[in-house]
């Protein structure tokens, strides 16, 4: 079982750019590892570190202003590029629980959901006003209501978002794919017996 995905409220990290690809999220040279953990350190590596591998003084990902933000806000086509699951792994390991963007690349969107990182697509004007609020006041908070499939932006209103019903069930009940399929273990065993695969 995974931790059920509950409604939550958080400050946001403003990163309003289009076409953030998986090579920017985590560069290919960090794929020879054998673990998912610790990848948060490599997240947006080339934006954050200098040539010596030290965090740049101007790295806004490491700025105390947004230290505990659990929502990343971005533009069009977030997560384009390769199918590497290191991208959602590193975002989650860094501390993000949801990404609000204008749109997402297909494979990234599915990989994120499988890893309980909630991708929320909202219309561009809404995302732009959210960015404006966060830039004006880093303490500005956004509430995500998982049950109602809504994002509450104070001073702006309530905006609903789409999510596949099956995927929503998995998130809300804390069923990851493995827990979900294992809940059908008797059927799998029956299938194996009936088809001579046991």
């Amino acid at each position: 079982m995974m931790e059920p995905f509950k409604s939550f409220e958080s400050t946001c990290f403003p990163f309003f750019k289009d076409d953030i690809d998986t090579d920017q999220i985590i560069p290919a040279r960090f794929l020879k590892g054998t673990t998912k953990t610790g990848l948060g350190k490599k997240l947006f590596y080339d934006w954050r570190y200098d040539e010596q591998g030290n965090i740049r003084p101007d790295s806004f990902f490491d700025s105390s202003l947004y230290a505990n933000s659990q929502i990343l806000v971005s533009g069009h086509n977030f997560g384009c590029g390769s199918s590497r699951e290191h991208a959602p792994w590193s975002l989650k390991d860094f501390g993000f629980r949801a990404i609000i963007a204008v749109s997402f690349a297909d494979i990234f969107y599915n990989n994120a959901l499988k890893n309980f990182l909630l991708p929320i697509s909202l219309p561009e004007p809404v995302v732009k006003s959210l960015i404006q609020h966060v830039e004006d006041d880093p303490a500005y908070k956004v509430a995500i209501d998982m049950e109602a499939q809504e994002v509450k932006l104070s001073g702006e209103g309530v905006f609903s978002f789409d999510i596949n019903a099956f995927r929503k069930k998995c998130l809300v009940e804390g069923l990851d794919d493995i827990a979900y399929v294992l809940s059908y273990l008797p059927q799998i065993e029956t299938f194996e017996q009936a088809t001579g695969k046991s």
């Binding site: 020879k32 054998t34 998912k36 199918s83 059908y184």
Partner: protein
């Protein structure tokens, strides 16, 4: 009377354990192949949950992506690669998964050893954490690549969550001209339908030209289905399939084999079944092919000219062509023939089987590799390597000046130290010509094994049909 079904639908229906309403199906997986690069996080996930590999008997491992193709008696220099391989060995031991490592004598590219061991059989579902898993569809199996979370899911449950794909028939009719191989057929198809042409679909290849292909040829064809965006590619099994499987280690034996063949003969698309899309091509239109750009859809007949800007319709296509030609160091409107080549790579899950090596050797025999060319021949498996050595092919390669290497993915993905240097041009029998695929700045020209062999001798891209007369 039951509804007529396509081959894909028959295999799909036979493997659905449960269909979630408005959701995915739980699909049973008959065979799971794993390798060192996409499995370590899956095993650690399993360990964190306290789960076992549910069916180690249906799981098979080998080492291919990051393993060096040089002297195997030496230690592996790249620490990260060594650790990945060591992790695979430890995981296989801990979870009881058979590992075909170097010491086993059966090590090789995962998509080469599956069929070679007889693990790949008609009608099965087969997955692997590698996009070129589509290769196994050559046997009339439903085979496709998966991500690491899915590798973990299959290890834990022997099932996957999948939604049904659409179906596409690609029919190639007629007799393939001399010197036209399965590689040319698939490059021709992708050049026609584009790299996204089969997105969301499973392709079934049909028609007399496909039927005439050997099993090796069908594997080459199905291998590159993914490069057209397809989920999988398949060819209905026939007597050639059964002949290939007979006597292989994991194939049924004796009377069981005959019984299996009876079942396998039913694995074909019924008369009256409907595909979501159909494409018909003529074998006589296909020539030896070569790519000129930075994805496999940018392919030409060897006799053609590199496209001109005015040949293209949309601004996006023009920008793509301009960027590709700039990267490849080519000029639009000029012949692709005669382009100088620095490196030749004969290998990969697309073209490293015994037939590929025989074809390449038949061209290289009594010739020398151009002194400006570095040529690598990397057999797909230890079994193929041994066979090529006993047939005298290895001597032909070595005498001509090619490097004869140990089996692995090698220069196709350039993870193991076998790389094409920046700015160098490589005639390659592999499957992807993306920017930087064979090394940062590398320029890849995808071709068949015979075209690669002729490029090695002449040091340039030539037409295999008439290069000796020039």
């Amino acid at each position: 009377m039951t509804q007529p079904k396509t081959l894909y639908e028959k295999i799909w229906d036979a493997h659905v354990v449960h269909q979630e309403k408005d959701g995915p199906a739980i699909l049973y997986i008959d065979r799971h192949l794993i390798h060192e690069v996409t499995s370590p996080q899956a095993f650690s996930g399993l360990k964190n949950r306290g789960l076992k590999v549910r069916r180690p008997d249906l799981t098979t491992a080998t080492e291919d992506h990051s393993i060096p193709t040089t002297d195997r008696s030496l230690p592996i220099e790249d620490e990260a690669a060594r650790f990945q391989l060591q992790t695979l060995a430890e995981n296989c031991k801990a979870y009881g998964v058979p590992l075909y490592d170097v010491a086993s004598g059966y090590q090789g590219i995962v998509h080469v050893i599956g069929p070679e061991l007889g693990l790949t059989q008609p009608g099965i579902t087969l997955v692997c954490g590698d996009s070129h898993t589509s290769t196994h569809g050559a046997f009339g199996a439903l085979a496709f690549g998966i991500g690491t979370s899915e590798v973990e899911l299959v290890l834990a449950t022997q099932c996957l969550l999948q939604t049904r794909s659409k179906t596409m028939e690609i029919r190639v009719e007629g007799t393939l001209p001399q010197w036209v191989t399965a590689k040319d057929v698939i490059l021709y198809i992708i050049s026609k339908i584009g790299v996204g042409g089969a997105t969301g679909h499973v392709i079934e290849y049909t028609g007399s030209a496909i039927r005439s292909l050997t099993m090796e040829g069908r594997m080459t064809l199905c291998n590159m289905s993914i490069e057209a965006g397809a989920r999988a590619g398949m060819v209905a099994p026939d007597e050639a399939t059964f002949e290939y499987l007979k006597g292989r280690q994991f194939a049924p034996k004796g009377a069981d084999f005959e019984k299996a063949c009876e079942v396998w003969r039913q694995l074909k698309t019924d008369d009256g079944a409907v595909y979501d899309q159909q494409i018909v091509l003529q074998a006589s239109d296909i020539e030896p092919m070569v790519t000129y750009g930075t994805h496999p859809g940018m392919a030409l007949k060897i006799s053609q000219l590199i496209p001109k800007m005015e040949d293209l319709h949309t601004p996006a296509e023009k920008i793509e062509l301009e960027n590709a030609l700039d990267y490849m160091g080519l000029k639009s409107g000029l012949p692709i023939q005669g382009t100088p080549i620095d490196v030749v790579f004969i290998g990969s899950c697309t073209n490293s089987r015994i037939e590929d090596l025989r074809l390449a050797a038949s061209v290289l025999k009594n010739h020398k590799v151009s002194q400006h060319v570095k040529a690598l021949v990397v057999p797909g498996s230890a079994v193929i390597k041994k066979q090529a050595e006993s047939e005298g092919l290895a001597d032909i390669f070595k005498n001509s000046g090619c490097e004869w290497r140990e089996p692995g993915c090698s220069m196709c993905i350039a993870m193991n130290g076998d790389i094409v240097a920046s700015g160098k041009a490589c005639a390659s029998t592999s499957n992807r010509n993306f920017k930087g695929r064979q090394g940062k700045g590398s320029r890849t020209f995808l071709v068949s094994p015979i075209m690669a062999a002729a490029a090695a001798i002449t040091g340039k891209l030539v037409d295999i049909r008439n290069w000796e007369n020039e």
